[in-house]
Amino acid sequence: MRLAKGELTLALVFAALGALWIARAAGMPIWGDSFAPDSGFLPLIYGVLLLGLALAAVAQLLAAGTVSSSESIRKPLIVLGALTAAVAALPLAGFALSVFALLLFLYAALERLPLLASAAVSAAITGLLYLVFKTWLGVPLP
C-alpha cells in the first residue's frame, strides 16, 4: 500500500510545532515562588505532549501503511495559491480589486465558467461585501 505522504506531513508539522514549543519554553521560568507553575510550565508540557502524540500518530501511520487519497490536490493547491495572491495584493491593490480578481480567477480561469457571467457575479459579490463591511459595519478596508 502507498503511504499518504500528506497525512504524514501533517503529523510531522504538529510534531515540529511541539518541538518548537519545547525549545522556546525551556528558556522561560518554569516554576514560580508561590508553589504554582510559571510562564514556561504549561507551554513545556504542551510541547512534550504534542511532540509525543504527533510522533505516535506518525508511528501509527507508518505501521498501518495508510492508502493515500485518490482525490487530486491540484485544484485545492490552485485555490490556496489564489487566496495567497489575493492576501498579498491586499495592501497594494486594496480590498475591492484583490477580491474581485480572486473571484474572477476562480470562476473564469479555474472553473471555466463564461467570462461575462463570471465578471458580473464577481463584481456583484465584491460590491456586496464592500457595502456590508465598509458602509454597514464601518470597517476601514484597505
Binding site: V13, S39, L42, P43, Y46, V132
Partner: protein
C-alpha cells in the same frame, strides 16, 4: 415555578422583532447549509462570527443555535434525495430514506422526518430546560480544580467524537499550545510572539475558526464540481399509516437522542445509530429495514434532533461542548465576554432563557418551512459547488480582516487554512483545536490556582470528589470509541 417565570421572560425576549428575525434567519440558514454541499453548520457559524463581533450577544447566540439545529433538518434532504448524508448524524437516515425516494415516496419520508424532528426538538428543548439549570446549580460549587477537570473533560470528550482519538488529542493539545501565544496574563511575560508585536495579543479565536472551518473546508470541497441528480419531491405529507407506524419510533428516538446527546463524547451520530438499531430490533419484520421502512427514517431523525438539544445541556450548564458546532458557539460566548459554565444560568439568565425559548420557536418555524417547502429546498441541491465556494473565500478574507483591521491576520488565515485543508482531507478533527485555543487561558489559570491552593501538589485533582468524577468521565470519554466498537460488533 422560578424556571417557568424565567422561560416566560425568555419568550418575551425571543419574541421581539429583532430576535425573532435572528431565529428565522438562523433556522433558514441552518436548513440551507444542511442542504448545500461543502459547508456545514460549524463553517457557517465561523463565517458569521466577524459579522456579529460587537453585536447583541443574545441575538447572535439565537442565530447560531438556529443554524445548529436547523442544519439537522437540512441534512435530511441530502440523505433522502441523493443518499449523501449532509451531516454524519443523518447517515442512518439515508439507508431507508433513499430507498423510499427510489420508490417515489421521498415526500412522505421528508415529511415524517420533519414531524419527528419537530417533536424531538421540542421535547429535547423541554429536557434541556429541566436538566441544564439543575446541573448548573449543582456545579456552582466548582472551584479551580473542578474547572481544570472540566476543561480536561471537554477536550477529551471532543477528541473522542472524531474519527481517531489520537488525532483528536493531537489537535486539542495543538489548540492549547496555540493558546499560549501572547502576553501571559499572570505575570506579563511575552510568550511565543517570535518578535512580532501583532502576536502579543495572542491568536484570535475568529481567525483560527474561520481559517479551519471556512478556508479549510472550502479548499477541501473545491473538488466537488457539478450538482448531483436529485429525486423529485411531491407532497411531503405522510399518510395516516405512516404516522401510525412512526409515532412510537419518534418518541423512542427522542428519548435515546436526548440521553445520548447529554453524554460527553457521544452526540447526534451515535444517537441516530442506536435509535435505528433499537427500531430494527423491535420491528415485527426487521427485514423491511434497509429496503424503505419509514420507521428507519423517523427514529434516527428524531434522535439526532433530540441529541442536538441534549448537547446544549453540558454546553450551557458546564461549558463542555459535545460537538464541533457547540464548541464554536462556546467560543462565541467567550468572544462576547460571557463565561460559559455553571455560572452562566445565574449571571446571564436573560441570554440563556431567550436562547431556550427561541429553540421552541425555531423548531416550529422549521416544521412550517419543511412541510410545504421541502421541494423548494431540494432545488438547492442542484446548485453546483463551483458557484458557491469563491464567495465563501472572499467572505473569509473580509471577515478576518474586519475583526482587527490586520493584514497579518489574513496571512494567518492562509496558513491555518492550508492546515485546515490537510486536516479535513485526512479526517483530523478540527473542533478540539478550537476548543483548546478557547479554553486554554481558563485551563492555565485553573491549574495555577489549584496548585497554589495545594502548595504545588497535583493530588488535589483526585482528592476532591467532583474533580475526580470529572477526570474519571474524561477517561471514560477517551475509551468510549472502544466501547462503541464493541457494541457495534455485537449488534451488527
Amino acid at each position: 415555578m422560578n424556571e417557568l417565570n424565567l422561560l416566560l421572560n425568555g419568550f418575551a425576549a425571543a419574541l421581539t422583532l429583532k430576535h425573532l428575525a435572528m431565529c428565522f434567519l438562523g433556522v433558514l440558514m441552518g436548513q440551507m447549509v444542511g442542504v448545500l454541499p461543502g459547508i456545514g453548520p460549524a463553517a457557517a457559524i465561523a463565517l458569521l462570527l466577524p459579522l456579529t463581533f460587537g453585536a447583541d450577544p443574545t441575538g447572535a447566540i439565537i442565530l447560531f443555535a438556529g443554524i445548529y439545529y436547523g442544519s439537522q433538518y437540512g441534512g435530511t434532504l441530502t440523505s433522502v434525495l441523493v443518499s449523501v448524508p449532509g451531516e454524519s448524524s443523518t447517515v442512518m437516515t439515508s439507508i431507508d430514506g433513499y430507498q423510499l425516494a427510489l420508490q417515489g415516496r421521498a415526500g412522505p419520508a421528508l415529511g415524517i422526518a420533519a414531524i419527528g424532528s419537530f417533536i424531538a426538538g421540542t421535547l429535547g428543548t423541554i429536557g434541556l430546560m429541566l436538566l441544564a439549570p439543575a446541573l448548573a446549580n449543582a456545579a456552582l460549587a466548582f472551584g479551580p480544580p473542578e474547572y481544570f477537570a472540566l476543561v480536561v473533560l471537554g477536550l477529551t470528550a471532543l477528541a473522542a467524537v472524531g474519527s481517531s482519538v489520537l488525532k483528536g488529542l493531537v489537535t486539542g493539545v495543538a489548540g492549547l499550545l496555540l493558546g499560549t501565544i501572547g502576553i501571559d496574563p499572570q505575570n506579563g511575560i511575552a510568550r511565543f510572539d517570535f518578535g512580532q508585536t501583532w502576536l502579543l495579543d495572542g491568536l484570535e479565536f475568529i481567525v483560527l475558526t474561520v481559517a479551519l472551518f471556512g478556508v479549510g473546508e472550502v479548499v477541501a470541497s473545491s473538488v466537488l464540481g457539478v450538482a448531483r441528480p436529485v429525486a423529485d419531491v411531491k407532497s411531503a405529507l405522510p399518510t395516516r399509516a405512516d404516522w401510525r407506524a412512526c409515532r412510537l419510533p419518534i418518541l423512542r428516538g427522542t428519548g435515546i437522542g436526548f440521553l445520548v446527546g447529554v453524554l460527553p463524547a457521544a452526540g447526534a451520530t451515535i444517537a441516530s445509530f442506536i435509535a435505528y438499531i433499537v427500531e430494527k430490533k423491535l420491528a415485527k419484520d426487521p427485514s423491511r429495514f434497509g429496503k424503505g421502512a419509514i420507521e428507519g427514517v423517523a427514529a434516527p431523525e428524531s434522535a439526532n434532533n433530540a441529541a442536538a438539544a441534549g448537547a446544549m445541556v453540558p454546553m450551557l450548564s458546564l461549558g463542555v461542548p459535545g460537538s464541533g458546532t457547540t464548541a464554536i458557539i462556546l467560543g462565541a460566548l467567550i468572544m462576547f465576554g460571557i463565561r460559559p459554565g455553571p455560572e452562566l444560568f445565574a449571571k446571564n439568565a436573560d441570554l440563556v432563557w431567550a436562547v431556550i425559548a427561541s429553540m421552541y420557536i425555531g423548531n416550529l418555524i422549521l416544521l412550517v418551512l419543511n412541510l410545504p417547502l421541502a421541494g423548494l429546498f431540494a432545488r438547492l441541491l442542484k446548485v453546483p459547488y463551483r458557484w458557491l465556494y469563491p464567495p465563501i473565500l472572499a467572505l473569509c478574507i473580509a471577515g478576518v480582516y474586519a475583526q482587527a483591521n490586520s493584514v497579518e491576520d489574513c496571512w494567518l488565515l492562509v496558513a491555518f487554512g492550508a492546515l485546515g485543508w490537510l486536516m479535513k482531507r485526512y479526517d483530523w478533527s478540527m473542533a478540539p483545536m478550537i476548543l483548546g485555543l478557547v479554553l486554554g487561558p481558563l485551563f492555565e489559570s485553573a491549574l495555577r490556582q489549584s496548585l497554589t491552593i495545594s502548595h504545588g501538589s497535583g493530588i488535589i485533582f483526585v482528592t476532591r470528589p467532583l474533580s475526580a468524577t470529572l477526570l474519571a468521565l474524561a477517561l471514560l470519554a477517551l475509551t468510549a470509541p472502544l466501547w462503541t466498537r464493541l457494541y457495534r460488533a455485537k449488534t451488527i
